[in-house]
Amino acid sequence: MALRDFGGQELEIDEDGFIQDPGQWNQTVATVLAQDEEVPELTDEHWKVVNMIREYYLKFGIAPMVRKVCKDTGKDLKQIYALFPSGPAKGACKIAGLPKPTGCV
């Protein structure tokens, strides 16, 4: 497993760049990961989505379903992709420090 520097903090990441321990996530990590996902700057709108996902995960132990993300953030799927070009799973969840989505691909 590779290590990566997140503003001083060395964290394990996997091949896709997901951090390996969701517990080590913080805002700096998010900012760094955002670069990979073609999100040069995390605006308030980005944070709204990232925080929603993060909180949902901490509460329920799972990533929210996309419909839930849209509903709770008041954004439609198009807007989500505008904010995160690589989409909610690869983009937003990664930035929010969640475990890598699996299964159905």
Partner: protein, 394 residues
């Protein structure tokens, strides 16, 4: 002479059936990726186990799917397949190609990928098998430049597919290819941006022979059929009678509902229209003499899928008969309602059929505003456990 590095796989080069090992070796000549893929496969053959790691989540800009991420668990030994992602390219309806477009695909894959492909994947896409992360976006850009787009993956609409239909089949009761193409185009967003509880597949067969196995392999099969009576050409019946076809034994006797009768002296075949269930058998046996009726359309079914999690389902009749004319708006509206209900009520990784099973067909029909009809079931319930809604009781 150098000793072969793939002694086990080499054994699969001989024999009459086309050899995938030969193909991998051909690709390996040009592509180091293909070479390492071959090497790693030999390792699997030796150790009897897979050497790919679980999952991988990579993609192209603006899409949530279309690429299957894959990493080797032996990257030191096979560095060229450290990443070895698959791109799913949406096939033209009915898998028709002109050679120019095929060559274009080959050229793109020669440039950006391993040179290995599947023509086709089980869902129907062209599978471009194996490339590295940095090549994904350029490959995609080249593909879309050439008029190709990615197919579905993830919790999204999957690439629809269709039988050859009216392009080359006299049985086709609906324009399978147009339907497939039209729905694919209409639902590009649903196809490229996963947002549902799980995957959703549409397959289109022109008649109940179901040559794309839609009833087993798609959540929503569209199967061509007819509403009136099959047509019999008695002159052709006579030709068959004079051939070596045993009309009584091979055709009439095998009609599941005994709808046919044959007068051997007159050499005439007749059908009791209300008894025919449109199974295709007699038509299949006597394609020159019998053909579907003229009031054509489709039966729409719902819920088919593979075994995971609750066991496999064959799809269930949802609309016994519907006319299929572009732009197919009625069906598209229904799809929207179904997806909405499923998305609202489904759990993660719950196919729509599983959700219907869990919440009940009655609840589903109510949600999508379809009337229960006896054609939906083989037989009614045998248990006495049914519900009454408050407006039905005192």
């Amino acid at each position: 002479m150098e000793e072969s590095k793939t002694p086990l796989l080499d054994q699969l080069e001989s024999g009459p059936w086309p050899s995938f090992v030969k193909e991998m070796k051909r690709a390996a000549k040009k592509s180091p990726m293909a070479k390492d893929a071959l090497g790693q496969l030999e390792l699997s053959y030796t150790e009897k186990r897979v050497h790919w790691k679980h999952g991988g989540i990579v993609g192209v800009r603006g899409y949530g799917g279309g690429v299957i991420g894959r990493y080797s668990d032996a990257p030191e030994q096979f560095p060229e397949v450290r990443d070895f992602h698959t791109m799913r390219v949406n096939q033209p309806s009915g898998w028709f190609y002109n050679t120019a477009s095929l060559r274009t695909l080959c050229d793109i894959w020669e440039k950006y990928g391993s040179g290995l492909t599947n023509f086709h994947g089980s869902t129907g896409d062209v599978i471009l098998l194996g490339t590295v992360t940095p090549n994904l976006q350029p490959a995609f850009d080249a593909l879309s430049e050439a008029g190709f787009d990615l197919g579905g993956s993830g919790s999204a609409l999957r690439t629809p597919s269709a039988c050859v239909g009216p392009a080359r089949c006299e049985y086709a009761c609906i324009d399978t290819l147009d339907i497939c193409n039209d729905f694919t185009q209409t639902f590009q967003n649903e196809l490229h941006r996963p947002m549902w509880p799980y995957k959703f597949k549409i397959k289109v067969s022109g008649c109940p022979n179901d040559c794309v196995a839609s009833i087993a392999r798609s959540d929503m099969p569209i199967i061509g059929t007819w509403r009136d009576t099959l047509r019999i050409d008695q002159a052709e019946v006579k030709h068959y009678a004079n051939s070596d076809l045993n009309i009584r034994g091979a055709v009439v006797a095998k009609c599941p509902t005994k709808a046919l009768s044959y007068d051997a002296t007159k050499m005439e075949l007749s059908v009791q229209p209300e008894e025919c269930i449109r199974c295709m058998h007699c038509i299949n046996m006597m394609p020159k003499a019998i053909r579907p009726g003229v009031e054509k359309g489709a039966t729409i079914l719902i819920g088919g899928k593979a075994p995971i999690v609750k066991g496999a389902y064959l799809s269930w009749v949802l609309i016994p008969f519907i006319k299929m004319e572009p732009p197919y708006q009625e069906l598209k509206d229904l799809l929207a309602k179904m997806w909405d209900w499923w998305d609202e009520n489904g759990k993660t990784r719950e196919r729509i059929g599983e959700l219907i099973d869990r919440l009940g067909m009655g609840a589903f029909l109510k949600a999508v505003e379809l009337k229960p009809v006896s054609q939906m079931v083989f037989r009614p319930r045998s248990n006495p456990y049914y519900f009454w809604s408050p407006d039905e009781i005192n």
